[in-house]
Amino acid sequence: MSLAASADIEKKPWHRLDKLGVLVAIIGLAGLALPFALFRANRIVPGEGIGIVGSLDDGWSILLIAAIGAALATALVRFRPIVKLAAGFLALAVLAFAIGAAASHLTPADNNYARVAPGAGFWLLLLAFSLMVTDALTRLRLRPVWRVALLAIVLGAIGLILWSGLWSNLSLLKEYASRAPAFWQEARTHLVLAFGSVTIATLAGIPLGILCYRVKPLRAAVLNTLNIVQTIPSIALFGLLIAPLAWVAANIPGASNIGISGIGIAPALIALFAYSLLPIVSNTVVGLLGVNGQVVDAARGMGMTDRQRLLNIELPLALPVILTGIRIVLVQNIGLATIAALIGGGGFGVFVFQGIGQTAMDLVLLGAVPTVGLAFAAAVILDAIVEQISIKGRGA
């Protein structure tokens, strides 16, 4: 039956139809129908949606609609993944240019209060073509190195667009322009919080994991305790650390000099560290338990000491699993670090919560977009490293 079905593919024209492409086309057409850009007289008032035709000069808007139409048509037909990838990326580039041009076109000259933001239509088109690109990439099964290279190219392109000033009239970048020093200050804090906590957790978690692996009675106790830590809501854990740290800062000489205080970065860093321990410790234990017993026996037979076995055999073999734990924690902490803003710890969360307070969507985005971008990039890079190491491990 399946043989007959595959023979039919060549004959019936609708079998050339890509099912995922149908979904992409539906989302894309909805995107074309909804407002492409949002115009607001100032940053707080509700916006007025404007379609593609109103957002650009007539000639350009026809060209844009034609380009989107062509890309959606490509999505509908079963082409090779590489063709779809190229069409998808091309469409995304066109969208990136168009939204910048629309912002410049819609902003009245010499008006600093007017705001132009991407509308629902833009976001749906972005979703449609991202879906197309994601599907093509999944099917291409790129090697880890190429995935990271592609990420670098995309980030480079976004950097180039930002530098060229093409997006300068977009509301998000106007928010940025009015608080650029604060943005970079919070970006530094965010990176210190996320990467600092993961680094400390790795330095503490791997030895703890090795200990739990070697000393079996300890294992359940440590893992259960860390499990319970995970259930404490992050804002509560941040809050509960304020009082003890304030006490330490006030009563232990020298503590406040090295930056320990009740509010600010110290409780946030400790809370993020506490959340990071479980995945790292448990993955270290699971990784070490998964090492083939015969390999360990062989190493023992060769006269390796405990320490040599651990460093030369067991840890290298467990590395992919341990790294997976670190990847989970890093992505999670980049997101959780936003909550540090609630206790004065800084980070991109400052903009998110300020934005919620002022109901200023652009300010929320100024905090949320870099956070999501950072988490996404960290996930892609660490996934690639894990896969690369696993391939090498299998090859050896």
Partner: protein, 250 residues
């Protein structure tokens, strides 16, 4: 095992007492508040807030379960097979979105209150359940499926009587993960005016009252541990049940 059950029962009773008669714990929480500050949350009834918190989480997770299991079934059928690889990637990428960002971005569309929290918890709950259902449905022993096909079951019968029951423990593990995440994440919903236990914690943060922070945090933590254990117990029971059935069939 028995001792564990007794401890959990005791913890549950303490939690109930704290919610119904918080004044009983006045002395304990007063240790964490300054003398001039109230020791027990006084801007609302703890029991009401807890029920509201649990209701929001329950609705969100019920919705996530229906949608995520439905989608996972769709992409594992021949009709939706083309969507399988891309849906895996989306589930992976989706997990990189921090809950705070999802919550904050839902506010401009839905306004302040319960709705954005519900949507954020729903979206965030989808991914673990979807991934686990996918794992459960794609790693079934092939000979069991062959046997079901061999006795003449239709696709729908195989799904309802064989595949879903066998995958149920794994699906439930996903629901458990989503529920625990949602219980903690719901507290952040209070920053957008949803009625959850985050209200108590944030009131404590704003007035520098550690007793409030501790109360809110303790209630959420205990709820999470108890619900986690209950769902884990249910999973073990289900696994044992399907295991027994398999043994009997052999």
């Amino acid at each position: 095992m028995k001792i564990g059950l007794l401890i959990r029962l005791a913890v549950f009773l303490v939690l109930v007492a704290l919610l119904i008669q918080p004044d009983l714990f006045q002395g304990f929480f007063a240790l964490f508040a300054r003398p001039t500050q109230p020791a027990i949350y006084n801007q609302g009834n703890l029991l009401d807030i807890t029920i509201s918190h649990l209701t929001i989480v329950a609705i969100a997770i019920a919705l996530s379960t229906v949608v995520a299991v439905g989608l996972a079934i769709l992409v594992t059928r021949p009709f939706g097979a083309e969507f399988l690889p891309v849906s895996r990637t989306i589930a992976n990428v989706g997990q990189t979105f921090p809950p705070v960002a999802v919550l904050a971005l839902a506010v401009p569309i839905l306004g302040f209150g319960t709705a954005p929290t519900l949507i954020a918890l729903f979206l965030y709950g989808l991914l673990p359940i979807f991934e686990n259902t996918l794992t459960g449905l794609t790693t079934l022993p092939p000979n069991v499926i062959e046997a079901a096909r061999g006795v003449g079951m239709t696709g729908r019968q195989r799904l309802m009587r064989v595949e879903l029951p066998l995958a149920l423990p794994v699906i439930l593990a996903g629901i458990r993960l989503s529920t625990v995440i949602a219980l903690a994440t719901a507290t952040i919903g209070s920053t957008v005016a949803a009625r959850t236990l985050g209200e108590v914690i944030i009131a404590g943060l704003q007035s520098g009252n550690t007793a409030f922070v501790l109360q809110g945090g303790l209630i959420v933590g205990i709820l999470a541990v108890l619900i986690y254990d209950a769902l884990a117990g249910l999973e073990r029971w289900l696994t044992a049940r399907t295991g027994q059935k398999q043994a009997a069939a052999n």
